[in-house]
Symmetry: none
Subunit: 362 residues, 2 copies
DNA sequence: TATAATGACTTGTACGTATAAATATGTAGC
DNA sequence: GCTACATATTTATACGTACAAGTCATTATA
């Protein structure tokens, strides 16, 4: 291997910077100084300096000199080479997602990644648009809360395309295919199972449920409930289950028909399992309006343990949501896939039950 | 402007590539060909080629020649050429920011911008780190909620540097300098003025206040309160004002001393103006614990009109927060600055009072 | 005292030359 | 038809020179 003169100078300065003999912002030797020092031509010195500048270790200013730019070196090349992770979520304005994203952002910044946010409003079309837009961008990985995960998704193949291009995708909250997807989710079935067992232990046998029909979470929570009831030899009355779509949920407060539906489903039951705290509060409000006392006359249990449910006049007993843990696991898993340290990530987080005031012994 | 020879060659080749006279993978003219073609020295040709290689438009192979690398340019450049807007906020997990960001994301995606998120945890150090990190990145603009906006900020000069580089900065929620900054904020002083007037109209003359000391919003809300009281000839007792820092706020629930402080400040008053709904609920909780009934024995009014305050056992009367409007205005203003359609943006949004249950006539 | 001019020093652009090393190609020899 | 070799072409490294242009501190001037 031939010894390159410019390489000698380049390495020398690089070492000075790394060993902090030259600190950030310091002016390095001028071209003429280096010419003398290494007994080379100006051209060779400039070659070395150009390479260092290209690497982002120094920058030069006309008429002033070259200066160390070490602290920014890693990221200096800008977003072109910097590591971008896209986080795709349904909505930002709920009580779960912001916490997850905040955790992801925290860890990502620490690791030198940048977080880009996209919202789908839980609409397949917006999700599709977003994925197509990202398709020819230079992203390192995707963390996605899939839209309408309970239904067959026409966007599954788009996510697949990212994986085929070597861009890992981690699903959170739900997934599109349990076989092929990488995901970090909450074990909703187990959570619902435990919630139902908790009601049963409090003497409830007539239990109704309000679930969301378009998210896989709703399906899992439903099946956890059913499982617990079957195992406790409690008969299941499908009439006591109310399925709501995202659309319904938005209009539920205004829509008289839906309110009536709630009551027809809850009739003859002593407890209700609600898809989440927001829904639990909506249901509770309607019950209060009809002078049904909670928890004395009707118990309610729900999911996600939000401050919203905490602040309600009857604090809603709820299955906790490990938001920070989920964000952390999702990011770490994604990095594992990016760095090819693992091939498949399928994590299911267990959750605790947080006892509050909305469930009573019958 | 001096005409640079290497620049002529560089632009010529770049044009050949863009116009697809030279397609991806094609070998470009050799150095000696270019020397003849442009009648320059080899050095000048190499200067041009080096720059093109640095841009990623071509690559060179020893002994073979230089080749067009255009297909990768779009991909490689990826986000470099795409329009990135960075949104810097204190926290994501509150009731205001996610809505604002969601609106910004919605509009940005529509206009072909990409949103990058950073959280400062309302810490000057983290804000600084974030700004330094962004300094060398190719962003189109910044929407920032400044950290600790009530105090003189050492990061003000960093924001200034962005502006000097032609990267506009729009502050939301607060600003660092009313003279020089571009901002879209809520008119907190007017809001507090109206809130105070509302209390006065309900017969309250002994009014206490709980404010945040490190955000400019707290200062503005305080001064709005003072203004209203002065104009109504109500004497102000500084002992009835409690100032909390972000630090305090976090420990307030656990810290006995602070709880006592709250009560010493609220003593002898019939109503309290709270910095926001979260604080209002904390204060209300403590009052309830001491068997003070709200609103019968003490009225509370606050800011931001969050669902959190809505769900509280006594729905908190609160000044509304135009989250969507603010997000929209911030984004549109930023685009105006980016496209140089405007030079200065200083928007103050007026807010409504949302009457609920926590204020009563005395 | 404030401003303008000067000169020393710095990097930027541009020319010329020479040799080294990698690649491509044509030719001679088997 | 294949290999080995010589040759031409290409880029890479390296020397030298000259002048342009930006920065900065000192000096001279108004």
């Amino acid at each position: 291997m031939r010894i390159l003169k410019y390489k000698i100078i380049e390495d020398y300065i690089k070492n000075e910077v790394i060993s902090e003999n030259l600190k950030n912002g310091d002016k390095i030797y001028s071209e003429s100084q280096l010419m003398v020092k290494f007994n080379v031509s100006r051209h060779t010195v400039r070659e070395a300096i150009n390479r260092l500048a290209q690497e982002g270790i120094i920058y030069t200013e006309h008429g002033r000199g070259s200066f160390v730019n070490w602290q920014n070196t890693v990221e200096k090349t800008g977003f072109r080479t910097s590591k971008i992770i896209v986080v795709i979520v349904s909505y930002l304005n709920n009580h779960i997602i912001p916490d997850i994203i905040q955790k992801i952002e925290e860890m990502a910044t620490e690791k030198g990644y940048n977080i880009m946010i996209r919202c789908t409003h839980n609409q397949i079309a917006k999700e599709r648009e977003c994925l197509l837009d990202l398709m020819n961008k230079n992203v390192f990985g995707i963390i996605a809360e899939p839209a309408k995960s309970a239904l067959p998704s026409p966007n599954a193949c788009l996510y697949q395309q990212f994986r085929e291009k070597g861009i890992p995708v981690i699903f959170i909250h739900g997934y599109l295919s349990q076989q092929t997807d990488d995901y970090v989710v909450v074990d909703d079935e187990a959570a619902a199972y435990n919630a139902t067992e908790y009601l049963i232990r409090h003497g409830h046998t007539q239990i109704s449920g309000v679930f969301k029909s378009d998210d896989i979470q709703g399906v899992h929570r439903y099946s956890g409930m059913i499982k617990a009831m079957l195992e406790n030899d409690i008969s299941i009355n499908e009439n006591n289950i109310l399925w709501l779509s995202t659309q319904d949920e938005k209009y539920i407060l205004k829509n008289k028909v839906l309110v009536d539906q709630i009551f027809s489903r809850l009739k003859n039951t002593t407890a209700t399992i609600c898809y989440n705290d927001d829904l639990a509060i909506t249901v509770a409000d309607k019950l209060f309006e009809q002078h049904v006392k909670i928890p004395e006359e009707h118990s309610i249990i729900s999911f996600d343990n939000t401050p919203f449910g905490d602040a309600y006049r009857v604090a809603i007993t709820s299955m906790d949501h490990p938001k920070g843990k989920l964000g952390k696991a999702a990011f770490e898993s994604l990095v594992c896939l990016i760095e090819k340290k693992k091939e498949k990530i399928q994590v299911s987080l267990e959750v605790e039950l947080i006892e509050k005031e909305s469930v009573q012994f019958i």
